[in-house]
Amino acid sequence: MIVIHTENRRKEMKKFLLIVIILIPIIVTVALNATGRLISMITPDNPTGIEIRSSLNQVIEKDDVIRVDIKDTSEFIMVDILPLMTKEDGINEPEKEENNVGDVDLVRQEGTNKYFVIPKKVGIVKIILSAIANVNVRRAVTFNVTSDSIENLTVYNSYESDLQESENYLVNHSQQLYFDIFPIEALSNNMVTWKVSNGTSVEITPNGYLTIREKGLSVIRVMAKDRNADLITKDIIVDTAAAVVKQKVGYVEEGLASNQYVNENFALDPENSSTTLVGEGVYSVTYVDPLTQEELSDTIRIEEVKEDDWDFSDRPEILYTNNGPHFLKAVNLLTRDPQEDVTFTLDDSSMADYENETGALVPVKAGILNITAKYKNTEKSLKVTIREKVSSFELMLGSEDAKLGIQLTRKWGNYWFDEEGELTNKFNFGLYNKANLFDVVWNSSNPDVISIENVEGTQDVVLTFSEDGAGLSSVISADLIVNNRKVPGLRKSFEFKMMDTPDYVNVYNFEEMKELAFDEIYNACLQSDIMATHVLSMNVGISIFGNGFLFDGSQIPSLPLGVGAISIFREAYQWGRYGVQQLEGKTYTDTQSVEKDLTFEELRMSNAVSIEESPNRGSCFTIIAPWKGKIAFKYMQVRNAERGIEVVWAKDVSFEGCILGDNNTYSVFAVYPEFPHGAFGNERAKLAFKNNVIKHSDGPGVAFAYGNSIDAESLAKGFMPDILVDGFLDIYNWHTQESFERMFSKIVVQSLLAYTSATQEAVNIIDKMMVQAFKDYFGSPVLNNIYYWKDNKKYVSVGMMALGAIFRTEAEQIVCNDPRLTVLDVPMEDEKGVPLSSTVNALKTLLKSFMDLDKVTYSSALVCYDFQGGKEPAVKPGDPVPQDYQLYARLTGQSVNLYE
């Protein structure tokens, strides 16, 4: 069909295309917002960072400092939890660093992400913010609370000593004195100067250079005017009694330099002094006290100059920004009279501000500054290094990096991998800012643990870790240095707490973990989140200290049931059975008899992005057949897996301080052979729990199961280990009757599949049959004691469970010291041996026929809250799991205040 344009309506193509182009960013932005909302609706909050903006809408970086006046209460910051689609976008109560000089409070404006900064004390203050949705998401922000009043004026010398007003300062020779004004921002218009307020024994330049005129006492004064127009002074009494010469460098007219001349003009007491030439231009002056006959000597360097020679009055080698002005002045070298009509120019005016009228030079940025003084046809140049006196600085690792995991600590191994993949006990450390604009001096509080070597040309250091430091710690600190003096209040530290044994290696990525898994000699101490690309498979196993970091198995392509993101198979045949990728070049043998204790601590693990993707995502941990040695799980958080932690035929296992939940079936699945069994030396296995929390899962938090031959003799022996529940066990895993029935069915089906193979269709059919069967079974009045009634609904508290039926569970093996809990028998028959439902009866008949077993109706065992006799459970259905800080405090036994 053809359409011929005859109308002339103005729907011009160009305008149309321009309108579309204008709409493009709007379309993209709307699509972005919609996507963000959609994602936030279907996924749980997963904050990844905190962005802080100043009141000028500038993003605050790690080493930025926000300046706030002590009187200004209108300053604010904006705190955004990233990604912005995070629903819970609040922050916990800010933590303040211990070394803070100043102080501020943050007050949130209700309903916004705006926080007013309320200054309380002048000085630098660093606070750490953490996200409510994830306490391990932390950011530090530093404020510099300034004032218009000078709070402190300090005088110090080149030897780092602060001079006190109350003590006489013994001056033996001419020297440079310095002042330190706090806060420097309060200094008004560079108005600071030195003078001799009393006495005649000394002279002092406006830049603080002290020269001696005669023996005796004088008072020197440094004065500074602040923005409130207050004059702050500091007086120092100087005593030149012990001085011998007037100055260390003297100028003499050409041809006049001689011992006598020097003695007469530069010795403080020429009559009792003698002078000799000891080197080129260097004279030694010896003074003998006429009363005590004590001899004192000093040297002076004499330079011969012409009558009209002049130079800079002071030749500083180094100046500092934010440290007051330096006054440029030229003097006649012989007379020390000011040289008039000298002009000063800077080669780079961006490095310093120069005021011609006052001669004040105020350094602005670090670098090399060349100053040229010109008088008539002569020029003198002065090269000055400008360094920064920063108001604050950061180390590569700050206090926000020191408190991680449930215990809010951070530990370090003795070793790292270097660039060649070899182990080294050296670690490059330093400042966050690598621009080398200011000077610091490093210190190790415990050099036997960590020693320090400076890296030339930088402010970085190399830390060497000693194996003798295992279990100890050392604080590595850096102090800002100005004029060789540590600036008070400007110290940054980081404490390196060492692992208890020296065989830990710090790892930052999955490749490094693979290296350790290959040799299985050293243990791993995580210093970063690890993204696993395939199963980390080991033969004997290594211990892992996670520091609260995440071992993320969500990118592992396949995690079948029974395989963990971290798998330790001590039985050689297990490798082939599960088809787990073996490390190239590694020899796998049977290591069941290897005695090695393993500890997995402070590790967060996840096998999927969300719990919705957790079905068929294996385990986070699978450990099979460690018959000797202890396996300890401490302060672990495992989630988003089919089964959280699977331990099979492990003789001695313990869980302490763990958060177990958010998994598709169990969070702990412990499998045992019949008792007694030769593998365990005919001893009963041990399984201990102390101070753990069980959050919601689709199955029991902890399940005990039998894992060996299905024959009457073995089954009749029982399999349960000695189970001890010590401390507390908080169970948040409440199920309705319906979901409990489904859960039970799922467990039975999974147990059956462990011993038989079936198609998915068959599994689905069996599952449906089981759900119906268990509906009848769990409706029996004999089982009423397992239900808690709330709002006319039945709930089951599913903490720990051992499935009966053909498996002989022994509830008496479970010792529970948490008085809030009880161990319930969940029978399949009544007291007279009659099955509780027809389905159980049918099942009994079926199993006896096909499996030739004597008893197929063993009771199941259930560890749950005790609500018998009208008692109320400590945690009721629907009670929210505490916010992370409260939870952490409970697990570690610390006060919540520690976390807040």
Binding site: I4, F16, P25, T112
Partner: protein
Amino acid sequence: MSNQIGTLLRLEFKNKYGTYNVKNTKSWLKSAMYLVLIAGAITGIYFVAEIFFEMFDRAGMVYEALVILFTAVFIFLTFTGVSSTSKALYFKGDNEILMRFPVKFQDVFVSKTLFLIISQLILTVSILSPFLVAYGRVTEANIGYYWRIPAAIIFSVFIPFLLSNLLAIPGMQFTNRIRNKFALIIVILSIVMIGFFGAYMAVFDKMVTFLKNTEFSVFSPEVVDILKDVCLYLIPTKYFADILVMNNIYLAYPALIGLFGFSLIGTILVIVKLYQKTLLGNIEVEGSAFKKVTKNRERPVYISLIHKEFLEIFRSVNYSFQYFVLASAMPLMVYFCNSITLQLGKNEIGEQITLGITLLVMLIFSTIITSFSATSVSREGNNFYHTKIIPVPVEKQLFVKFSMYFLVSFIANLLCVAVILFTKQMSVSMAFSIFGMVQAIAVAMTLFSMKTDIKRPYFNLSGEGEIVNNNINTSSSIGFGLAVALVEGITGMILGYMVGADLALYVCAGIAAFLFIVAILTYTHKLKKQYNNIGN
């Protein structure tokens, strides 16, 4: 006003807006629909205007914002005024027809001028009013401010109009000089396009940032100082703002009245002396005629046809803009858009959306370019039947067209990816994966658009025969392209976040491959038959 002027004026309105019959329900419905659309547009403009002024008010520059607004409107109205005046007074095709009728030049001129003034008035009121009302709301202006708005609008209409009349003839002479400098035109238009889009994205970014957090000024103190200084020298447009806010009115009013007087006198002189002469001169000159002697070169069939396709676009300002200019500007426009939306996306959702959002941006821009192929057959115009009789198979002719579209989109997409890589917006492997997907979808969209045009072409047999009006083929091509871009982009973002970039890449590549295959199958199905059916 004489009858003739009134008749000519009615003719102008009919040409622009079509016929309207009070007794026809359709006309009523159409009018109602237009009114609703206009009301919606004005509401939208008011909303944007509020944000605009609040943004500047936060930075303490609300007066400067008003000056900037008037400056932008003044420049826009002057330039569009020059263009519309040139077209309406000098280049309109109906001048040829009117020449033959007993109408006076003066009547023609008056009717056209009246039409331009009324159109300009409607446009200016529609755009300026919501802005000025929004300013009044943001600054809590008193009632006197609202009474002064008509004065500002009247000055804003007449002064640019009169200036554009003064500039129309020199403007025409300039365009006549460069009329055959096609490459130069493309370069100039590309630079203008990139500059316009870059400025637009900068303002857009500020406004989105402001919307996210109205506590802040989005301007740094340095920018505030610069803008304040610049606005002091924006004469005469700052006087429009001054008469509204009663600032320096003893200078503003005389300046504006003087400018009005000067431009009026100038316009009258230009029209009296030059209008008829210029009009006649333009009628004698065909629209795009120029003389260039070229050699007859024998080329292979394929190359000849590609050459013809290229020249057809290259030598047309309209087509050049629709195609080459946008394709040339695309890499930088993608860069501007991507850099801002990528940052927005990373803050809003996370790093995982990089794939999705880059895909979305590139596909949207690619859609604009490939929409040109929706007029591949329609553009033949009067020459369409020629394509049926030349001894080249239809499939080959269409393949030639496709080749050119493919080549241009390939180069444009490749340059986009190069810019993205150079500016480190993403990794090499991901960038090339995105290139593959975008190119596959560009091919698919091209084939879909070409097939749509073959099924239902829109030929323009009047005037110069160029497709300057939008038609349903182009609209549907763009609409479909946007839908595909949104599906791919949102899929990429969601999957990238939930299951990782690798799987997201596979799924998006799968969608692209599916569209590619479907497009080829659809295109080749009954191609020759449908082409031959055109005109039968």
